[in-house]
Symmetry: D2
Subunit: 357 residues, 4 copies
């Protein structure tokens, strides 16, 4: 019943605040004898790192990860893996304002109501900085899953601008800072976001994550469903307001005939003619690609003043100063991939435990 | 790490198959000295009961609940509450077909791939019959929450037909078998569903659940978020493919200005001018109404034959015989309410544990 | 974080009160395709059943177990197994006394202080009647472990009378109602207990449980140790006040030389020359017999009046009326075996999950 | 289901190996607004620190703890508290021997059988170095419990030499390096241990831990018993082979009359005439002192060669070189106190969650 842990057999606990000395995580339950070194983790962190384009926050963090335990002579030992990242760009500034004024749409007021205290510097525990450790844990999860499972994410909508699925190009995703998979949408998004940024505004987004090569049989009925665990994992990412699997909300408008995924045996293997289900039936993977999407709200940090209150109960208007992040959805792409990797690694071990290989 | 349990302090474990002798649940962690008898639970079960209109399955179940433990002289004792419902309408029939043919879109093939065995009678464990126990547990959760918290659900979309929010009328919801809150939408839905039913087709739906009176401060950062627990709880309901909080997926198209929820002190209390957030910030309740929606896919049981395979790997076409459920979303309304009640009761106790009252 | 659940992957939740309508348990996480029917469980329950000799309580319970879910056509399905036993001998009597007077040494006062309410009939939830469900769950755990693992328990001390280990005879254990493994100790114990019973007194005991054939490698370092899980499981049995593994408390008086378990390879297999460790090193099984002992206190229900208080805070003297159990340690033998079986089944699945076969 | 976590609401996860760069822990669920700084933790670590007398290992570790998260402006925030200790005395040496030879009585062979890999330097994860983090977590737990709860431990037996309880003097405990509470036993123990040390032998011990001021009502029936959680916590300490509560194993030889704890109201409060129960009835605290004892085996690292095997399956004789610890029980005293503090803090929060204040 931890507030800062997820997973059951592949179990990740994160800790740390935006402007504390460091952030970190402990991964417990990782199988032994998996080759692992910093080089397996760092590239994924680099991909999430802030300050890499004008469309994300300008905070500069090297995000250099250290492995403090659980790995010996280049292999996991089965004991807990402790990962640490020192915070380096804790910009010296006056937090007097934020200490007493609640930023609308942020966790400020909720944390203070709950705990009666919070580390207000840079959002403290509620900062998206925590997601770096999700990405680090996700890198370890990918090693557990092995090369046969491929997990890829992309941004598929920015504000009103979606992609054309006929043009979906996974190779493009890592070649542009927006994780955009549609060559024609990309310049539209760039112009749109440049404008949002210039106005000091912000905009929401939709991210899609797909896992291919997922073995059939992962997940469990009722409260251990693969899709409900995935929903929890994705909804736990900062600013996420919706999660869907396969057809998702579109399924509400479909008839049973339209939503059917016919099955056939082909060359001795089960084949589905379509994947409206998104790779999961009754909470259990079918072997088809696992498809999830999640919606990220626009950040509340905008240059327009918004009515708010102070800790002492006075009315004020609050506007964001300093670093600005016009579309927090962008950096959620590697985070979404990491969460899917962790959920799958967890279910792989759980399945092996109950049913055997 | 149970597959059939949810919640942490208010903890519900369900068991039972569609055509076994009984279904049941065990509620552990319920506070003591809460008045509770069958009369607190039965009405909610009656509301979910099948066979009450032509739009839901014609299975006849009395769904009479028995309290087997945890209650003494009309009050909870703090020990586990065991609830039991005997199955009565296990219609005598030949399951030979279903035993070997996988119904497309059902959990059949996934269960069999995972476990190598399944109780195929009426869907076995994957049957929506399990949701009766969620409703029973939700009734107990409502007692834990007390009269100050009001949880209501409604169907807000059936296939292509949504409601007009300007006409939303909660009083109407319990006065029609479709849990429809819009008097003008109701006849449209009835005609539409009558047609779907006549054709032996099925259709999806969207359900909205709202909790009012939720104390501010419930939930926890990062992996104990109120909204991520809610996402898991709602996604675990049969046939659900998407979950959203507040603006949900619509937030992807909003700017920070449009999505802002301005705050003001009014008569010494914090007031929000809007509720795009759906009652939760940073995973913690704000005191505003908690608003969640979930999408239910059309049932795969339709009269049109769909290509499928048998257990032995032969191609067959499968169509549904017997009882038919044109819109499984309808009966998901009380289930969604129950899940929200359970999540809130759990977080109420968790909050009290860590922070005190 | 359940109060009434133990185990992680093989997970047992029990419920029910001494004088409620029934007691039961739910076993979650059991592997699929294990042959199981009532005949696998009932004999173990019969062994624990009260009223089988003059040395245990005279309550008459048939303890007929029903399987309500999780088994289909004689095999487990991987879904939760619900077991139920109806209470039959809820002797009609006046509980007025016990309702307001706390029996010294019983849980009465502690429960009432904690919850402010309790089902006082026959001890309610704190009754040893709950252990019937442990035995039932243990029967299922034995099936998970398979025939290669043999778990046996015996009483090795009654009051001041221990056994001579040179005479330890496992075959004798099931041939006498005291689970005594020493033919010379048996008549001594019988006379001693007859005297205790006649005086309306009670006496403590020590039980030993041994598992042979336990695969090496079960357990985990630090907080998932096989022996610490076993300690918790055995200490949770009613009236248990101490648990030890291998040499246990005797190890405090040994030197390193005396306590050493030398190892040698013999015919390609690792052999230990002794088993002071009791089959576990660093929390992980070595393949040697797993040896645990636990101490059971004398029941507090004696015919001698003991000073006590009422619920209302008046001084009273309390003595036991009616059924009397001179040595509750006797019936703890099958319960201890069952707990060891459950812990081992849990660790077998956990090990398989993390490490593979 | 973590292997390296204990507790439910006050939840401690430890990580790190003896000769890795650092060890650490994450404490999750700590209530907010508790004053906490390094000065609250360091003194307890200093008390456990090695190298403080000739009777414990000569490893030199400053054990300087850093607080990396969860504390802001001198108060806990309710978010995870990350504590870190850098290892400094990783003596440069050749581990070639230990890498391939299993030390008898150590976890070496068990770890290798389980995981197929282990960090053999200084015992790796199975080193008692991990217990430093238990002590650190215990220091935080003490702050949660508040000044009203006093937890003290002492060594009460060294090899064959026990204490005379009539002379038990708590003030003496912290005034001698053996945590001995008996002024007459102290010189006997010193001579005895000096001799054990000179011979390169080792000896076992019994430690007693007592908590006074524990509120009545902590714990829960059946599988959430205060004493079973305590048994697990104490048995999880390195080298512990037995745990007992109150009379413990001695209760096996007592009659119900001898073991009774009579109750009386005195000045409006419940008083017990004795405490054979050790402060817990039916798994729930009574308000009396909570009394636990645990037995620590002699360390297997002795100068006498003991038959063993290598990783490759060759017979060898193994004897300890270098640092030597004649009685590992000594340093277990602060660890036992810490584990009791953590278990009590956890149950305090759990009780508050379910029952309220």
């Amino acid at each position: 019943m931890s507030y800062n842990t997820f997973g059951h057999m592949f179990r990740v606990t994160t800790w740390g605040e935006s402007h504390g000395p460091a952030i970190g995580c402990v991964i417990d339950g990782c199988p032994p004898r998996i080759p692992l070194d910093v080089g397996d983790i760092q590239p994924w962190l680099d991909r999430r790192r802030p300050g890499q384009s004008k469309f994300t926050t300008q905070r500069q963090e090297a995000d250099q990860v250290e492995i403090l335990s659980g790995v010996f002579e280049g292999q996991t030992t089965g004991t807990p893996i402790s990962l640490l990242i020192r915070n380096t760009d804790q910009r010296s500034r006056d937090y007097g304002d934020i200490a007493t004024r609640y930023r609308p749409g942020h966790a400020d007021v909720a944390y203070d109501t709950k705990y009666g205290i919070r580390d207000y510097r840079g959002g403290g525990r509620s900062s998206a900085r925590e997601t770096a450790m999700r990405v680090a844990a996700g890198a370890v999860a990918r090693k557990v899953l092995g090369a046969g499972v491929r997990i890829r994410g992309a941004m598929v909508q920015v504000g009103p601008h979606g992609i054309d699925r006929a043009r979906l190009d996974w190779d493009l995703v890592n070649a542009n800072p927006l994780f955009c998979p549609d060559a024609q949408a990309l310049p539209v998004w760039e112009d749109y976001l440049a404008d949002i940024r210039k106005k000091g505004s912000s905009i929401g987004a939709v991210i899609e994550v797909v896992a291919e090569g997922v073995p059939a049989g992962l997940g469990a009925p009722i409260y251990g469903k693969l899709d409900s665990d995935l929903a929890m994992a994705l909804m736990s990412i900062n600013a996420v307001k919706g999660v869907e699997i396969g057809e998702g909300f579109a399924a509400a408008s479909l008839t049973g005939e339209e939503n059917a995924d016919p099955m056939r045996m082909e060359e001795g293997r089960l084949r589905f003619a379509s994947n409206h289900a998104g790779g999961v039936l009754g909470g259990i993977s079918t072997g088809q690609p696992l498809v999830a999407r999640f919606a990220v709200k626009p950040t509340s940090s905008i240059l327009t003043p918004v009515p708010s209150v102070t800790r002492e109960g006075e009315n004020v208007d609050v506007m964001t100063k300093g670093r600005h992040d016009p579309c927090v959805g962008i950096r959620a792409v590697p985070v979404g991939e990491a969460m899917m990797a962790c959920v799958l690694a967890d279910h792989l071990l759980r399945h092996r435990g109950q049913v055997g290989s």
